[in-house]
Amino acid sequence: MLPSPVEVIQAFISEFPLLMKNLVVTLQEAFIGLFLGVSVGFIAAVLMDTFDILYKAFYPLLIITQTIPSVAIAPLLVLWFGYEMTPKIVLIIISTFFPVTVGLLDGFRSADKDSIGLLRSMGANRFQIFRYIKFPSALPQLFSGLRIAAAYSVVGAVISEWLGGFGGLGVYMTRVKKAFAFDKMFAVIFLIAAISLALMALVGFAEKKCMPYRNTNKKGEKL
């Protein structure tokens, strides 16, 4: 029932071409879904921050979308959108936009009031206040949200493939599960974990590049 590490590695090597073929499908879904999810999350956060009425109207709804387990909506999405890529991407959008929106909203609200007052005294308009104060103040929270979203995107892709599809690591998983091939099962689990970690590392790298002021100490040395 529990394969030895050696067996898992052997399975990984023997299944490597097949794993890679499925990985490409999953990653494609994850990237498209993540990109769209982050875009939707960003737009939602900006709109909700600009118009208080939208915030009041949609914030509770936003929370509700997160209380529904994704395994429960995934079959519905399959029924509505078929077995192709669309239902997978929709599921990823639903699960990734939330951490981005919430993070950004918090970030926008944490922007320093005095700094905003200063820019207003300099005659800045709303867009300029957003660009020079609100958005940069929200960057740390945006990246925290992105980290979570990145991990969710892979998991979301796998779950939706599980419930119907022609390719991808989720489909591969259901197949080896039915064959009771535990070694292959563990091989694919480790692969998914590794991919999630790699995506999060990528976000971390982008974070460092976008916020260079966080990586220097008093003397200006790079940390």
Binding site: D112, D114, S115, G117, L118, L119, R120, S121, M122, G123, A124, Q128, Y132, I133, P136, L139, M211, Y213, T216, N217, K218, K219, G220
Partner: protein, 244 residues
């Protein structure tokens, strides 16, 4: 020549009067202090002059033109330096130019020659967190100056600094002002600071705040280092204390 005129400004919050019939003037190239206790409505007055607050009555004139309730004419600097932590010093200083629509590159070229004059050489590419409190205030003043070479409102800019740094900053400040001739209204609650740096002092006291007196400091500029130890200085101080 009159640069800025504050005419009969009154303001109250929730029925409680804060400022009553304030009238002051600022001439071209002058440094004028507004001296009074904390919480006496000085900052409210500055918010009105800078256009962030609407007065209940009265007018603000810049070069004879009514700018009441219009932000974007006079520059404003606070006790907190409010440098944006995610922008380098040069980009912080260039911010007012960017807000006015300048391109990033041309804004930087306009700012660079000012760094030496403000004693900020070598800090262009640093972030605010890498500078000391005194240096950050210098950068904040440079940003203030980049916004308007006309009139600046400084709200207790040095009061968060320790005594020694503060005294060094006074010297630096008077030095810079000799060169740039910025007409300045300066809020402080420190009597010595007011006498040391200003051409004229308005005393604001009472609740609601009213102008309790005006004192002209005749000592020539640049002032000697030991001005604050002379009998003249003490005379001014006595007079201010009796009026407050």
């Amino acid at each position: 020549m009159k640069k800025l005129e504050v005419k009969n400004i009154s303001k109250s919050f929730d029925g409680k009067p804060v400022l009553k019939d304030i009238s002051i003037e600022l001439n071209q190239g002058e440094i004028v202090c507004l001296l009074g206790v904390s919480g006496g409505g000085k900052t409210t007055l500055f918010n009105i002059i800078s256009g962030l607050l609407t007065p209940d009555s009265g007018q603000i004139l810049l070069d004879g033109k009514d700018i009441t309730n219009q932000p974007g004419y006079v520059s404003y600097m606070l006790q907190k330096d409010l440098l944006l932590p995610y922008r380098t010093i040069e980009d912080n200083a260039a911010l007012p130019l960017l807000l006015k629509g300048a391109k990033k590159k041309e804004a930087r070229t306009q700012v660079h020659p000012m760094f030496a004059q403000f004693g900020l050489e070598g800090t262009q590419k640093k972030y605010p967190a890498q500078l000391s409190g005194g240096m950050r205030q210098r950068a904040a003043l440079l940003r203030t100056y980049m916004f308007s070479k006309d009139v600046a409102l400084l709200d207790e800019p040095f009061s968060a600094l320790d005594t020694l740094t503060k005294s060094a900053m006074h010297k630096w400040y008077l030095n810079v002002m000799e060169n740039i001739k910025l007409s300045t209204l300066f809020i402080t609650h420190d009597i010595d600071e007011a006498i040391l740096i200003s051409d004229r002092i308005y005393l604001l006291s009472g609740s609601p705040g009213e102008i309790a007196g005006e004192i002209i400091i005749k000592e020539k500029k640049p002032r000697k280092d030991d001005f604050n130890l002379t009998p003249d200085f003490l005379q001014y101080k006595k007079k201010i204390l009796s009026l407050l």
